[in-house]
């Protein structure tokens, strides 16, 4: 294990971050294989992570943050590739709802990711070449198993809380279901217990866009020295629309034209929204691996917590002593409130302790990443109450 450091040299390349990241890394050797849902045993593998704050003596103050589809472990520090500030600095930091003065906050790059944990861009020890599509398909449960091994590596018996949104929220629910004794409190934002048909459909569009790009080279683009730029960019553009809402798009862009007075009667980016999406696509390609995008989207598609329990979601949480906080946003059409309500009802049926808040916001699915004071106050109130129950705060 390398010493915990913060990235200092920014504008590292994404390929560098995939193989030699600015994050500390834990290597799990052949003696610690990971048994994947696919039936394949993955070994060796490694997990890159960032941590903030200090683990207390009895190791009871750890909060694990699970990142979303295209997120990473750089929650509250400058991103090594983009140079931008951490993706959840509004929620995580000294004096923030996830208070790094009080808690030891841990976030690892998910298995299958491209920021230092084993993923399709990592070198396959069997061949000496990048895994590409030779990496077994990774599921949400596999990601959680790998995280559990990291948590164990730190000697943490029980996490005070597991927190995440979207795909991170799926991991939170998986943690609470399959490792419930290791989770004191769970915060799942803008998520669901399964990926809907519509969501799978959007992911399939993205994957087909990547795979239709000649530069993808059947997944072997790293060896070929190419980048499936167009395909991944289109995938991101399509997905990005699903993270917003019609109202948000209309308020921000309307039908405004981009740096011109009139339409050009051509197919240039006449409209601001077109220019914005192209920019989103291009910048994404700079920081994210195309194959990793295939693996991440597949992991979400496969997630169906009820299916693992013969269709009864409540059984996924039977006997759970975990305290849950479920948060949804009114304008989120990717994970609409109904998905969160389903989870809340299942938790009720299982007799679990659950708080469920729907927050009014017109900013769509991405609301959980944005400045939403009601979300902050809900998470803050929930965590403070849980901390009192856990003896981390005076009651």
């Amino acid at each position: 294990m390398t010493k915990a450091t913060r990235p200092t040299a920014y504008r590292a390349s994404k390929s560098q971050e995939a193989t030699n990241p600015h994050s500390p890394v834990v290597e799990f050797g052949v003696e610690k294989p990971l048994n994947l849902d696919s039936g394949i045993s993955l070994s060796p593998f490694r997990i890159a992570y960032q941590s903030y704050g200090t683990l207390n003596e009895d190791k009871s103050n750890a909060i694990l943050i699970c990142h979303a589809l295209t997120g990473d472990q750089h929650v509250a520090n400058v991103h090594p590739v983009t140079g931008k500030s951490g993706w959840w600095e509004m929620l995580v930091g000294p004096g923030k709802p996830i208070d790094t003065d009080r808690y030891f906050v841990l976030c690892s790059n998910v298995l299958g990711g491209c920021l230092g944990s084993t993923g399709p861009a990592s070198i396959n020890p069997a061949t000496g070449k990048p895994y590409a599509l030779d990496l077994p398909v990774i599921t949400i449960a596999d990601m959680v198993r790998a995280q559990a091994m990291l948590v164990e590596h730190f000697g943490i018996k029980q996490l005070f809380a597991v927190v995440g949104g979207s795909m991170g929220g799926m991991q939170v629910l998986e943690w609470a279901s399959s490792h419930s004794d290791k989770v004191f409190a769970a915060v799942a934002l803008a998520t669901g217990a399964r990926h809907s048909s519509q969501n799978i459909a959007f992911h399939e569009v993205g994957r087909q866009a990547v795979m239709a790009d000649p530069e993808w080279k059947e997944g072997r683009y790293l060896e070929a020295g190419t980048v499936p730029r167009k395909g991944l960019s289109v995938a991101r553009m399509a997905a990005h629309i699903t993270y917003l809402s019609e109202t948000a798009l209309h308020n921000k862009f309307g039908r405004n034209l981009q740096d011109r007075q009139n339409v050009t009667f051509g197919f240039d980016a006449d409209f601001q929204i077109e220019s914005y999406l192209r920019h989103q696509g291009n910048t994404f390609v700079e920081r994210f691996d195309a194959n990793s995008y295939l693996y991440m989207t597949r992991a979400m598609d496969y997630f169906d917590l009820a299916a693992e329990h013969e269709g009864r979601l409540a059984d996924a949480f039977a006997g759970s002593k975990t305290r849950f906080c479920i948060v949804s946003f009114t304008s989120d059409w990717l994970f609409p409130t109904s998905e969160s309500r389903t989870v809340a009802h299942a938790l009720n049926a299982a007799g679990a302790s659950v708080s469920f808040v729907e927050i009014e916001s017109d900013r769509g699915h991405d609301s959980f990443l944005l400045d939403e004071p009601e979300m902050f106050s809900a998470v803050n109130g929930f965590l403070r109450s849980a901390a009192r129950a856990r003896g981390l705060l005076p009651s």
């Binding site: 479920i326 009720n348 659950v354 106050s377 809900a378 109130g381």
Partner: protein, 204 residues
Amino acid sequence: MSINSHPRVDFAVIASLIEPGSRVLDVGCSDGELLDLLQTTKNVDGRGVELSQKGVNESVARGLSVIQGDADSDLKYYPDGGFDYVILSQTLQATRNPKYVLTELLRIGEKAIVSFPNFGHWRMRASLAINGRMPVTKELPYSWYDTPNIHFCTINDFVDMTKEIGAHVESAVALNALGQRLGFNMPWGFWNLFGQQAVFLLRR
């Protein structure tokens, strides 16, 4: 704040009916004030359901386990006998199907505590009899066309319904306009005339 100085007078009565350390579900918990009170003074394991988003957010922000939901449609998700007490305070009259809700309360809880405004109170009767208009009072300030209270009943009506669903009245308290308890030995008819609100403790 002690229980007795609490401005919602029915809260004090409800709290007095609850055994310390029990499991409590508050249906229609508003901003969580009663649950907070019960957790502080009775050390209950409390949960809440509230229809208004504002109420839920306020409850969760104060650290309570409260979910957004509707008494009419969401109680079915709770397992049988999951709670020692299910509370419905000043909410019965706002439900679409009070009889169903009351049945559900007694399925989910060993006991149910129901408080409601008594439409049989003499002021209500007088308002209708003398003015010929739907009563609008300090406690029930809504006009007929914008009130959330769609199913008012009197104490006598409520007692009839408990019989219909086979619930047993373990105890009942009627409070006058000053929030004082009316005498124990009075007949229902007296309470129905002078009780401004009532709190019932029911069991299956």
